[in-house]
Symmetry: C2
């Protein structure tokens, strides 16, 4: 499925928590004409896609951890 | 193209700066078997995909701005 061109909100419910190690990639979409809310979709290593709460305190930490990994490598 | 299952690094060079308003979505991929470096790929509103520097000081601000938008809406 071509996620980038979806014309509606994709997240109906969000997962309360997620293990950093399970994340293959994270996609963050700000509000736009297709959807009035910010959406955060994680693709897991098993191929599953799950939505995360953009306001969740853990999400910010996960993103920082990913970006920090870039620095240490 | 199915970006999620690419088996190699996708970013050869990164864009030095980007306008927040041009971003349709941001995809952050931590290092993994497919690529040893963190990759940040922005899909722009015109459909173009560009790579951003994961260590860039502006990137962290852009992500915070997107997540903050979630809070204010």
């Amino acid at each position: 499925s071509i996620v980038a061109t979806e014309l509606r909100c994709q997240c109906l419910k969000t997962l309360p928590r997620i293990d950093f190690e399970d994340i293959q990639s994270l996609k963050v979409t700000p509000p736009g004409p297709h959807c009035t809310q910010t959406e955060v979709i994680a693709t897991l290593k098993d191929g599953q896609e799950v939505c995360l709460d953009p306001e969740g305190p853990r999400l910010q930490k996960i993103i920082q951890k990913i970006l920090k990994k870039a620095k240490s490598s």
